[in-house]
Symmetry: C2
Subunit: 326 residues, 2 copies
């Protein structure tokens, strides 16, 4: 089978690609080809795999060409991140709304020309939820909580969830939208996501560096390790229509943490000195964005697919240490 | 003040224009100019009013030119109807999604260039609600019911609600989305809307003609008279941000009826002979679309604005008779 992974050179995309290549199969079919589409080149180990083809450049211009390739499945992960979209409204519209629309229309034309509808997993986000003044956010957001996004990023993710559902209803694709929790611990440097500090407050201290935390320690948020997130994306791809029940988006499993609880786990795994490298420096812009996000999430439909959250945050810290030193 | 009414030559749009011209003011300001933008020419009485300017043609191509006019408020009513969108997917995308997006972007650029953000009422629809297999529809859909649209029309209305909310959050417009119930009794001939029969089963018998009803008499649905719908659109325009509470869409008042109840009212007002002109002829296509719509709706936020549903369906029948014979 042939798989397209948009955003395949990013952290989640590269990890998903690596996992799929190691498995060698998806939904019971041998993986012959993985197309990575990204603005930047993928890591060298992926580019070197004979099953990998790389398309580098802006996705918006490439959607039709990609859909014209032999194609069985798509993981659509490419996205501008939340902070970028708040800072540059047009970038957000173009990267997260127009690009998804162009991809869906290219896949639709493929089906209209007689091809089998492509299975597509769209990576949505827990950022679709937010506290609209008229609609208080429940303590725990579930699959069936009413989304009221408080960022352009969350708005575009929600809009695309509904487009994916409608293109699926019409039979143009076999689409499913999975809402990712905040993925931590990400390696590398801070990125433009407002949630970037959820990785930084663990990653930097483990490297002996000072980390700035822009929100208070009682800030609560649902998170997930990279491994659990990748397992969720693959399970949602492999699920039958019957197991998914509806066409609406489902939440991926969440470990519901506070910043303080994350730092307790850091201390338990790496010692007090590591924790003391975290300095609280309030940042109103970041805090404002985070205040519009859920404090905790549940994932009943994902649980029916056999998906469970990470056991505890110390596990997540250890997963990061093991991988960053291997 | 200067007001743009998209779809201003349609049934709701022309009636809204007529009502506004008769009032002479909106939100406490004198109406100097009404721009009617529609694919077809408006009724002669509107075109003859010295305060009216008419822009005829596809709205998509005109959005920037319209936003470049002096402008204080917009009623964005232009839309392809549900049946058309199911039959022609690209028409639905173009008319209901791309056009709204183009209008919002034109208004955004206006604000970015220094103009006061325009107040905009977007006419959404009760068709945003539907029974996704994973999310049963409640017996009565409220402002805070999770929408899961089962048509492209409902999908695009929902998507535009969220775009209006986000452009409002960013300060580009002062937008508010009102979900219209099915408006009955519409004059004229059946149109492409799957809900067209909700008018036909009253209008045709009153004209001494046979009407075909494509759904069984126990089909339940929330409806509203033209007058109540127009009053709702104006009240949502005039409401302060505080009265609206949130940026999410609100339901307009609904009179919750069954087809049988509507025919009882027809008989009470116009006699048994009128009712006997209605023939039940099942139509699977129409019934399938209607089955995905709510059976009843509530409108708590509209009630806080002082808006109430029609008192009973006999009132609605009498309103139609009085207007169609005047």
């Amino acid at each position: 089978m042939h798989i397209l992974i948009t955003g395949g050179a990013g952290f989640i995309g590269a990890r998903l690609t690596r996992t799929l290549l190691a498995r060698g199969e998806l939904a019971g079919r041998r993986i012959e080809r993985v197309l990575i589409a990204d603005q930047v080149a993928p890591p060298a180990d992926l580019a070197a795999d004979p099953r990998v083809r790389v398309h580098t450049g802006a996705l918006l211009a490439q959607c039709q060409a990609l859909a014209d390739e032999p194609l069985d499945g798509v993981f659509h992960l490419a996205s501008a991140v939340s902070g970028e979209c708040e800072a540059d409204f047009e970038l957000g519209l173009r990267s997260n709304l127009d690009t998804t629309r162009a991809l869906l229309d290219a896949l639709r034309r493929r089906t209209e020309a007689g091809a089998t509808p492509v299975r597509l997993v769209f990576s949505s986000s827990v950022a679709v939820f937010g506290p609209d003044p008229a609609i208080p956010l429940p303590a725990v957001v579930g699959d069936d909580t009413l989304p009221a996004p408080q960022t352009s990023y969350g708005t575009h993710k929600l809009v695309c969830e509904h487009l994916v559902a409608d293109y699926t209803r019409k039979g143009y694709i076999d689409g499913r939208s999975a809402r990712l929790m905040t993925v931590t611990v990400r390696p590398g440097r801070p990125n433009g996501a407002a949630s970037s500090f959820f990785s930084g407050i663990i990653r930097e201290p483990l490297a002996g560096e000072i980390a700035l935390c822009p929100v208070p320690p009682d800030t609560a948020h649902p998170v997930s390790s990279p491994a659990t997130t990748i397992a969720g994306l693959i399970a949602v791809y492999e699920a039958s229509r019957e197991m998914l029940v509806g066409r609406t988006a489902l939440n991926l499993p969440a470990l519901n943490m506070t910043v303080g609880g994350m730092l307790d786990a850091l201390e338990a795994v790496a010692g007090r000195a590591a924790r003391e490298l975290v300095r609280f420096e309030p940042d109103a812009r970041i805090a404002g964005i985070v205040a519009g996000w859920p404090k905790a999430a549940s994932a009943a439909r994902a649980a029916r697919l056999g998906l469970q959250p990470d056991r505890d945050f110390a596990d997540i810290v250890r997963q990061y240490i093991a991988e960053s030193t291997s």
